[in-house]
Symmetry: C2
């Protein structure tokens, strides 16, 4: 089999209190990628969407991943990749991670699954480095593994799957630009110990709540005293979205990754739909274009659909 | 029934990475307390040990708890308390918490269990405030509930039991004095965000490891980049104890509470015994008196044994 088609899902990183260490995979949106082994040792990229991403593999997040795998395999072959992106670049729901992780998983499948999950994550992080300047795995890991992922440590890499109950996720992507590098630069390098203690109490509560299936505890723990107060100023309507969505019954939520998307978790589908209606009402009134998703946690991650 | 006897166990707070939010209960050492309802609205305390703790209820950690409960009950009666302490004051394994929590649980039992766990914790924290100047619950909660407790938040109080697998705990109490207030004062009020991120990755890893029964993950997560490097300088031999105990097979460990006791977790009893031997060898050589315990996680907490 020389060709494989893969679905690579969007992801929500940070999960409010778990800055840089937690992420979860979504069912929608989801990129579709078709990867073919070719004889020549080069990477050829075709975009099947309207995002005009670079086709030079050195400038493409999937491209740098495939080049690294090709090099690891002594350039004995190359790859031809078609990408049909549905996760809008810059949306904050793991668009670059989906491209990078999808490329790594698809290539590994074509190569007889010779690489471990950790190795695929390492390859895929090269794409994140190209996209944002930083090797981070809080989108990559859930994109590959599905469900909720904990990145306990990057050096050394230590990724842990955190069992989670069924959850509905409502996402709104207001069509404004927040650059990941800007969102990172406005953070303070030092924080108060007492704030850090509050944050890690919430992180422990969130993980315990997910593993116990305790929805109330999940909701109480979705509190971020460090990052959200700083970053949310970049997102028009954020406070109102959060307040109204919680009043509509959401367990809680916040900025997806570094934004501008905002996500909310709900126990029931009808709540997730009511949350979507609140989001739409707010951005209709503010007058910012947006896109919404009502979806669930994707427990499989990147999925081979053909090949 | 006007008299009750209770066993109130020692506890290990912080659990290395979980500063101020995690604690676990031990089977040993354990205080024995006998509480009697009396007609007069006063608190009478008898010490049945050689620690010469204050018998004035306003200066005794169990006394202030009983006075508060008495006041809450409109001073319709009083309490007579006999305390036989086995948890040495100042050891760092929850001596004051055992007195305070034991008094609250015993009184609640005599009063027909009219108070909730949260209310008992609130009463018992008055004892911690007397002992250390700070209302904290990371010893109180596991002492009352048993097992591993997460204090997600103090304001509002939010205590969560974290399921944990069987664990052996080896404790060494070097007979030196480390005052809780000193141990707190030497901490920096500000920490680097990147260190806080590493810490909360470990906390999430520890909680996940405990709930999955993943001993390796528990071991990898028992890392403290913020508190231990500062506080361990107050404990002679600390680095050597930690290194040698891990070489002897301990999963990991560190300072118990604010010290001076040091604890290590092991999967097997023979490892916990080997760890004890390492601890003894080091303090024998340094020439500091010490006491050791090899025990297990106490999943019941404060236990009524008679009444």
């Amino acid at each position: 089999m020389n060709t494989v088609t893969i679905h690579s899902p969007g992801t929500v990183a940070n999960l409010v209190c778990g800055f840089d260490i937690l992420g979860l995979a979504l069912h929608e949106p989801c990129d579709i990628m078709k990867l073919t082994l070719i004889d020549e040792p080069r990477v050829v990229i075709h975009n099947r969407d309207a995002y005009y991403l670079p086709t030079d593999p050195l400038k493409n997040v999937a491209g740098v991943v495939l080049l690294a795998i090709m090099e690891q395999e002594q350039n004995r072959f190359g790859f031809e990749l078609e990408i049909e992106k549905h996760i809008k670049p810059g949306s904050g729901i793991g668009s670059s991670a989906a491209s990078a992780a999808g490329a790594a998983v698809a290539a590994n499948h074509l190569l007889g699954k010779r690489y471990s999950t950790d190795e695929m994550v390492q390859f895929a992080m090269l794409g994140e480095k190209l996209a944002s300047g930083v090797k981070h795995a809080d989108n990559i890991a859930p994109c590959i593994l599905g469900g909720v992922s904990l990145i306990r440590s990057i050096h050394p890499l230590d990724i842990v799957s955190v069992p989670a109950p069924d959850l509905y996720v409502t996402v709104v992507h207001p069509q404004i630009e927040v650059r990941t590098s800007d969102a990172r630069q406005i953070l303070k390098q030092q924080v108060l110990l007492k704030d850090a203690i509050r944050q890690w109490g919430n992180i422990a509560g969130l993980v315990t709540g997910l593993m116990k299936g305790d929805y109330d505890l999940i909701g109480r723990s979705l509190e971020d005293v460090l990052i959200e107060p700083v970053r949310s100023i970049l997102i028009p309507g954020f406070d109102e979205v959060k307040r109204n969505c919680k009043e509509a019954g959401a367990l809680g939520g916040g900025i997806s990754g570094s934004g501008p998307s905002v996500f909310m978790l709900s126990k029931e589908e009808h709540t997730a739909r009511a949350v979507e209606a609140e989001m739409k009402a707010i951005y209709d009134r503010i007058g910012i274009d947006y896109h919404t998703y009502v979806t669930t946690v994707n427990k499989e991650g990147c999925t081979i659909v053909n090949g």
